[in-house]
Structure formats: structure tokens, C-alpha cells
Symmetry: C2
Subunit: 695 residues, 2 copies
Amino acid sequence: MKTFFEPETVAVIGVSARNDNLSRAIVRNLIEFDFKGIIYLVGPKGGVQFGRRIYRSVVDIPDRIDLAIILTPASTLPELMEQLGEKGVKHAVVESAGFREYGKEGKAIEEEMVNVAKRYGIRFIGPNCIGVINNHNGLCVPFTPFKNVYKKGGVTVISQSGGVGMSYLNALASEAIGLRCFAAIGNKIDVDENDLIEYFLSDDLTEIIVLYLEGISDGKRLMKLAMTAKKPILVHKSNTGKLGSHIAASHTASLSSDDAVVDAALRQCGIARFYKPEQLVNYLKSLPLPRIKGNKLVVISRSGGHAVISTDECERHGFTLAQLPEPFFREIEKHFRAKVIALQNPLDLGDLFDMDVYKKIIERTLREDTVDGVVFLHTFVSQTEGAKSRELIEQVADISMKVGKPLTICVETENSESASLKRDVSHPIFTVVEDAINSLALSRDFGMGYIEPAQPPELDVDFKIAQDIISICEKENRDPMLDEAMAIFKAYGLPTLPAKIAKTEDEAAFLAKELGYPVVMKVVAPQVSHKTDLGGVQLNLKTEEGVRNAWKEICNSISCACPSAQIEGIMIQPMAKTGPELILGGKEDRNFGPCILVGVGGIFVEIFKQASTRIAPFSKNAAFDMINSLSVAPILNGARGQKPYDVDSLVDSLLRICRLKLDFPQIAEFDANPVRVRPKGEGCVVLDARIILTR
Amino acid sequence: MKTFFEPETVAVIGVSARNDNLSRAIVRNLIEFDFKGIIYLVGPKGGVQFGRRIYRSVVDIPDRIDLAIILTPASTLPELMEQLGEKGVKHAVVESAGFREYGKEGKAIEEEMVNVAKRYGIRFIGPNCIGVINNHNGLCVPFTPFKNVYKKGGVTVISQSGGVGMSYLNALASEAIGLRCFAAIGNKIDVDENDLIEYFLSDDLTEIIVLYLEGISDGKRLMKLAMTAKKPILVHKSNTGKLGSHIAASHTASLSSDDAVVDAALRQCGIARFYKPEQLVNYLKSLPLPRIKGNKLVVISRSGGHAVISTDECERHGFTLAQLPEPFFREIEKHFRAKVIALQNPLDLGDLFDMDVYKKIIERTLREDTVDGVVFLHTFVSQTEGAKSRELIEQVADISMKVGKPLTICVETENSESASLKRDVSHPIFTVVEDAINSLALSRDFGMGYIEPAQPPELDVDFKIAQDIISICEKENRDPMLDEAMAIFKAYGLPTLPAKIAKTEDEAAFLAKELGYPVVMKVVAPQVSHKTDLGGVQLNLKTEEGVRNAWKEICNSISCACPSAQIEGIMIQPMAKTGPELILGGKEDRNFGPCILVGVGGIFVEIFKQASTRIAPFSKNAAFDMINSLSVAPILNGARGQKPYDVDSLVDSLLRICRLKLDFPQIAEFDANPVRVRPKGEGCVVLDARIILTR
């Protein structure tokens, strides 16, 4: 990977002497950024540009070529790759478009290109990308003109979209945050985000990796890389919903995966996910500061109104205002010339105008034991207080670093003044109170991903029974039926209610008596998934007459609602005791593999739409966390004098569900729903089950 | 009010020849903004400033004075007001601080000042404010130096904080949004936000009123003004939480009112509430555009990545991507030079570089029937495409206005280029995709406040019974007890369970038999509010023995948990049938008067913390809306094949609760909780009640 960013010689392929030639911008960028290597130009028509010869082919260049930058029509790529191979070039950035993102024809060209590249062992970034930048050696090869306005620094940006990547670069430039490298990966057919993450994790100059992704190439590898990373990784994963999926599919031919799974996976491996450029900027600006170690802030403000707003924001982000002791206030009070504003936190500087005193107050506050961080809101007019303010800011920034607690400085001044402060001062400067507090919150919360070794406990399960049932289903090319699914869950130690299948009305009456009234009846039919909706369920039947009527009603409802359904029988179960209902389940995610969820269950699962997801395997503690993150957790744990429910048994069931999924990768989707939870000590019980196999 | 903003003569009081004199900045601002009236300077030491005489007193000025601007120590104010009175000055802006916001001493001075002002009929803005601006006549009197960088326009800003007001002004300046007037109202002791709102609603040059408030002076008047307003009113009401309230109390001596009530009240009268400056800016930028009439957008983008992000944002904000018909695409296709990107919505302009074609595509899309609005994401480099882009933007902006559908333009270019576009183009220019979509959403949602004539239906209630009970309680200086509260609700037509109070264990056994088993027992004691928590409730008692045991247990629990409680008896009720539980209740809000809520009830009311609030009175439709906005609404309305519950009876009860509150203003707080809802046709029933009176 290193050669992509540290080449000694570069060939720009696709240059012509024409005015509207796009490749000229690539060369111009290399010159503008003062590239430290040697630049060669290539174009079929030859000629001269920028005082340099345009070679007709890369093979004509009388030098070794480390990296080729290609911007020519898609159709020329297979032939060009062939030439690179002959010449011994091993690395290329393909900026051309017109491949798989534009249908069959493009896909065929793409495959040909990939084959040639493989044959010669050529690695390439792209196609359909705007290129790469190394801000430390001047390698800047996008095909749009760039200005060299980027501070040198430690932020590396990897983007699946050139346009969005440019937005990030603009944001870095206007906040004067230092850039290390940039790579637009486009269709990422060969080199993908994981290859680059791996490289930049080992790159000494990269301090943080920021990604924009529309699709994730290999979720498992991404998680593995992130789990061992010693640098923060931030991801904006777009393409989250239903509306977006078809565009991304054709835009960079990426497929969107279930967003909840992405979210769970990223959190699990410690990757911070952001959604808006302002969050990225706020987080990046928190990095130079000492990390906040607690929740107690002091707000020091010249403007009372901003102090009030900052208090709202503190509360919104889970901060508290530090309690300051009396001696602190007595000491501060000495410094006040006039005593117009009450001494409290937020500390309103009111009509105190002496910057030296500000410095003393800020230092004293940072050193106070009960304080974890300080927010300084400084309103000033550059004309009268610009120079003094700048001096103050630099001094208190130093103090913050020395004391080891974050000081967030937010200025309210003319736009030109704040822009120049951002440029000149190494300490981050905010201009919006909300951003300053958000930055502290992000630095507190990001990278707090729960990276724990996934050590699921040993569980006693009957693999053989489950395997036998699943084998039969696979042989018969069908999914397990209700009773089979229940039997599989039972084999894995999940508590299930006894259940028998009746094939006839008489048999139903007989089985109901055997199991004991009251009973529940549920249709068993491979085509019927949402049984309740279609009238396939009858509850609390207390007599034989009730059971016989229910038999007729269920058969009628199902044959009306779903004429194609083959009713295999009706399941008879004893009526379960009441209790909150949950869903335990999971699926095989294309990208991240087995994932498991627990959520609010029963018939309301789709109304509340609340579930907690993890990638398997996970530990017992993680299972507890999953349940405790649900909104029903306070109820489960016994709210307001009510008895707590049996969360332990729910956790055990969750771990067994997880084990089942890991043992049988052929399970595509499955759930136990509802699982009814009984008071502590009485366990939980699976009332209904569904297993769908991969065919 | 007009004189505050359109004076012909102004006296700036507090000017001296000293260098650090703050009032000098006021005069400098008037000069910088080219004030169209006459400026006089006043200061006790006399002298000369800016080539003008400093009069020793306002009475010495040989001219009529329309408006006095005062920045002198608080202690001088009573005397100064006296002088204004003598001189016949009727309007003043008091920028001095040191009044009620700084304790007793300041409050005394303030009262004296107010008395003098009243005696002479002087109206004043402030104290403790930074002043006012009229951007159309150059009246600019803040005591910090301002630069004249504001476009003339229709936005009037009223702010309780000078600092926050300046933030808004900076935001307007950097987005080149036109300013009409600005007023910082500080402690708002005389002139308050309502006085100014009333004035600016009638001011021809004001198109929109933006407020920053930490406390609301008179909620009822605010609602009345807003309900008849023909201009949008936007409010940032800060000081929302517990952390903030004590600062605001001392900062501008405003008291914070319950935020949920504020929220309900603002919505009810059509005021749009915003929380961050960026929301304000996004909304203001939507105003010049035709208002969006539906939810169907088309995104036209040069950058595929931004198109994907915009799709995520569309979904988040409840927009859909318009379905475009085949003939539309066939027509568009004609214009594409190369056919690299698939034709769909978002429409990726891909490698099409002809701005004339862009114009045609945008116009064609705007004119398409199925399209409500268009988002145009334009990525360009100023050096090569700046001039052409500017021309395009102006042309398509015109088309949007002609067609009468909003076109939101978001540019991705150098910061300097986007800044100059914002300045020069009258159409709003966005630089962040998220903001562009947010702007359309705000324009759709804001001002959709449900301003409806509050016509509660006629209800048959027994006022007399309720009045008698309340009178007795008032005479005895206590709150109604449980059985009295139930009787009051019953008198107002709320369905309640029969309930009897037992004074002894034997009586309890007797009453239980009379009411019929199973029964519920609840302690009746004025000191015990959260009965369940303290063991004061026993459910589902089926036998006399159970009742007798329950009696002992309740008495024991209560005397342990709350030794000071006087047990007046224990209420015996038949056990109610099951069903979802809600809370209906209300309170007298200091600011907005009677407000009523419905929420998730029972013992989980404080876990879910979900309620819908309105200011009384309201209509039957509003009552339905309140219930339907709860997360449990789908359950109440019959989700997934379940029977619906009796929402009609719940609505009826809500209206009766509302009527009760309106009839008895002395009710400080009250609730029926839980109210259990039965299936449709079976009504609902109040199981427990609490009424607290104002003493």
C-alpha cells in the first residue's frame, strides 16, 4: 500500500494538449502541492504540456514508474493495464468511470481489466474515484483543481465518494485541522477500505482515520482490524434506509446492509459512527485536548445568555455543572472589580474586563479537584480586545494542557476574527456553544466502544437433536415447522411449553384434555408466518366445545386469508401465565455474519420496533447489557415496588439462542417470539418459534 | 413603541472624554451605521467627544429628545429618570446593569427607577441589555462596537441576552440574510417581548420575528398575539432543564417554567420553536422560496455520494423521492452527452458537464407534476466553472420562483466562493446537504402549528357536588382525600369504580363483602401520595381472611415507611378488569394557566415519561390528537388484529378533566391515574385520583 502514497515516480495517463483535458488538472495539482517525486505525462496523441513531453505510452518512459494515475475512457483500461504490466508498474489509481456502475457492458470491461491486473500482480485503487492525496509529500492527483490550503497533520480520510471526501477536506481546511492523507476508493474493486485502514493503522504520521462509506466491503475483517487498532476510527456510513439503497447500488455498486447490524457491529469493535460533518469536526477538535475524565463541567462566560444555553446543552449531553466550594468563590471574588454578577456555576464574568483576571480564574477552576473540564465562552470585538484575547487564549490553552483537563474555548466575535484565530492558534477554537459542548461529549463517548473478548459461557445443549431436525428439513428443502422449531429450541435448553400437533378436530379435543385446560391453539402451516394477523391463533380455550369451535374458526380464517396455505395441523399448548413478552432472535448477515437480537416482543414487536443487536459470539455481560438497553428494562428489573422479573433466565436463553446460531450457520433467520418472562425465580418460556433456513 | 426604533433625536447618556468610556462605542455605532437622526451626548463631567459638546444633563439640551440611551451606574438611574421626566423624554433604553439580577440592593434601586418612570409615563427597554438596532435608519446603540455588515431586510430579532442576540446577528451576516431591527430586552422590567412582538407585527418592514427568551413574561398574552399573527414567529426558548433554572433566575431574573408546557403552548399558538442557530438559519433561508406543498422531492446531483447522503436525509425528514415517469427520463436522456450514470431519482449528473443542459433538466423536473420540490447539489471549482455556475444558479433560481416550487441549491466549492455566492445571489445558497434538506423540512413543518378555535363540547357535569367538596377542603385548609377526589371526578362524569372507606378492619371485611370479591385495598392518608411505593396498596383480595391480613400489612407498611402519616382509613374497591393504563391530569401553570395532559399511566408513568400536553380549553379533535400522539396509540387503536380499545370514552374523560380544571382554578395539580381502558364499547374507568389545591 505504501507505494500508493509514497511513490518516487508518477505517470499521469490520459493527458493531451487539449484545453478541456481533465488529466491536466492532475498534473496541475501535483505542481500546486509541490510533489517531491518525478512526474511523467502519458497520452496517445503525444505532444507537450507544462513544458513536459507527453509520452505516447507508459512503456516509452525511460524510468521506473512507481504509480500510474489513469483518467481515460473505460474501454481503454484492459489495454492500458497490459502496458502497465509490461512496464512493470505495480500500482495504479484508476479515476475513469463507466464500469459496473453503468450496467453490463461496463461490468464486462471491468472484469477484463481485473484479469489483466491480476495476471501482472498490479494493485489498483478505483475505478470511478477522484484519486489520492498525501499532504506531506505533495502527491495530489484528483482530476479537479485543488488549492494547497491544507495544514499538515494527522487526519487521514478514506472516502467512497469523491464529492463527500471533498466536503470533508473543505471542513478540515476551514477549521484548520491538519490532513495526513486522502484516498477516494470509488468502486473499490481491488483495494478496499480495509486494505487502506490496515496500512494507515501502521502509518506513523496518521493519528486518526476517518471514513465515508456507502457499503462495507468485508464486515468481519473491518471488525478485526478495528478491535486491535490503537488509533481512533470514525465512520460516516450512509445509505441507511430504504430510499437510499437503490441509488448506492448503482452509484458505486455497493449493497446496503441492514443498518441496525452495521450500527451494532461498529459499536462492538470500537468504531465511532458519525452522521454529519459537524460531528466529525467537533470530534476532531476534541482530540488535541486532554481527554475528559468525568461529567462535571464549569462554564465561564462573558455572556449570561450563552451560559444559559450552555447549561441546556450540558444537560442534553449528560454533563452536570460541578459544585464549586465556598473557598473557591471567596478566592475568585477577590478578583472582581465590580460585583455585579452572582458567583455560581456557570460563572458569569459580567462587567469584569481584565483578561489577566480571566486567566487566573480559568487556571484556578481547572485546578479545582471537583472539576473535570471547563468551557470558556469569550465574547469580544476584535477592534478593541483582539490582541489581548488572543494572548489570553494562548495562555489558558497552555494551562489546560499542563493541568491535563480539557478547556473548550468558544469565541463570539466577527467571522473574520474567529477564522484567523482558528488558523493561528493550535488549540481548537469553537464559534457555536452547542458545538463546544458536543465536542466534549463526543470525546467522552466516542471510542468507549465495548471491545471485550467475546467469551460466551459453556452451555449444555443437545446438538444431535437439533441437527437431525435441520437435516431432515434440508433434505426436504423446507423450513422447520412450528413444532420442529420448538423442538430445536428445547434441545438447546430454552424453556418451551409442551406442544402437540393435532391433525383432526377430534385429535385436538383429545390433546387439549391431555395437556390440561385452558389451552391455546395455533395453526401450523409453512406458508403462514404472521399467524395472529390471519386469525390462526385462539387463546384461553377452556372446554372441549371451545376447542372444537376454535378448530373450525382457525381453518376457516386461514383458508379465507391465505387460500394457498396447506394446513399441516393445529398446535395445542397449555395457556401460559402472564408476563412481559420479548423477542429473541437473529439472522445471518451477509456482511458481519451471525447477529443476535433481543427486543420488545409479542404482537407489539413491530409497533415498538425496539431491539438491541450484537454480532455473535458475545459474553454473558454483553447479554445483560443488551437487555438493559431496552426501554422495558426498568420494568424487567422491578420498577416502583413491583417484583423484578427473571432477567437471569432471559440472559441464559439469549446465550443459548446465540449458540444455536453459531452451531448452525445454515439458519438464515430465526426467532423465539414471544418469550414470556415470569417473576424472578420462575424463569421464562418460549411460546412460539420460527426458523428459516438458507436454501 | 415606534419611538424606540424611529426617533428623530437621540441622547446618549453616560459619555465622558475618558478612553475606556463604554458609551463612546454607542456614539461610534450611530456614526458607523449612518444614523438618520440627530445625536446628543450627555455626561456629568461635560467636555467634548467626536467633535460634539457633552451636555452635563439631558435638561440642558436645547432640543426635544425622542429617545435616551443610558449607560451609567445603576445607582444614578432614579435621578436620571427624574431628569428625563422633567425634560419630557418618554422613551429610554437602559443598558446599565446592577439591578434585580444582583440582589436586594439592586432591586431597591430598580423599584425606585420604575416608580419615577411610571410617574412621568416613561417607557423603557432594559435594564441590563445591550440596546437596539434599526438597520433601515441607522439607529444602532449597543455599547460594543458593531460593523455595518448587515444586509437590509425583514428579519427582526428580539433577544433577552445581548450575547446570544449578537450570535444571531453574526449568523444573519454570514448568510447574508437581511435584518430589519434588533432589540435586546435584558431584565425586561417595563417593555417586554410581547410589547415588541405587538409592535413588529404591525411594522410593515418586518417579515418575520425571531426571539431568544430565557423566561416568558406573560404566556397568555404571547399566545393571543401569536394566534392572530400574520407573520412567522420563531422562538429559541432556552433554560429548559433543571440545571439551567437557577442561573437564569439570577442572570436576567427570569423564572423558568415547565418546559413541556412551554412546548405545548408554543405549538398550540403556531410559534415555531428552534434550538440551534443552524435551525434558525435553515428556516430563514427557506422563506424566500415558494413553500413546499408535498413530500415528493427530486435530488439532482453532480456528486453521487452527496446524492446518497441526501437520500438518507430525505428519509430522516419524512420526504420521499418522487417517482419519475419513463417519458421524463427519455426526455432527459436526450441531453446526456455520455451515458455513464443510470437515470433515476436521485439523478446523478455524472460526467455531464454542460450547464445549459443542467438548466433544462432542472426546469423540466420542477415542472413535472409528481414533483413538489427539487434539491440541486452542485459541486464545482470556482477557477474553472465559477462564472458559469453563478449564471446557472441565477437562472434556475428564477425558474423555481416562476414555477412556484422550491429549489434548494447546495454548493460544494471553496469556502471563499460559497461566501461570495451567498452575498451576491438573492436565492438562498447552502453548503451542507443536511442543511438544505432540513430547510425544506422546516418550511414544511414550521408554522403548521394547529391554531384552531378552542371549542370544547358541551358536557353534562354536576358542578355543585364538586364545589361543595372543594369548599369544605378549602375551609379545612387541606387537599381532598382519595374518596373525595373520586367523588369530584364522578360528579364531572368520569367513570369511577365504586369505592368505600373503611375505618376499621371489621368495617373493611364488611365493605369488601358488600362490594363483592375480589377487591383492592388502598390506604387513605393525606401525607401519602405514592401509595404503591410505600406498601399502601393490596390487589386482588379474594377472601375475608385476605382482606383482614391486607389491613394489617398496609397499616404496618405505612407506619414504618411514613411514621408521620395519619391513616384516615383504607379504601375498598372492586378489582377492575385489565386493560392499558393511562394518566389524565393537569396543573395550573404560572405562565400559561390551566394545562391538561394525557400520558402512559399506572405505575410506569415515570418510566415512560410520555405525555401529551395542551393548554385548556381545547376541542374534541385536539383531545383525539393528544391521545394519538402517544406511543401507545397503535395499541389503543387496535394493532395487528387485536381489538381496539375505547378511545372515545378516553377522549370524553379528557374533555371532562379539562372542564373540571377550567371550572376550578384553585386546583393546583390533579390526576386520574391509572385510568384503565377497556375494549371499544366497554368504556374506561378511573381507579385512583389525586387533587391538590392552591393554598
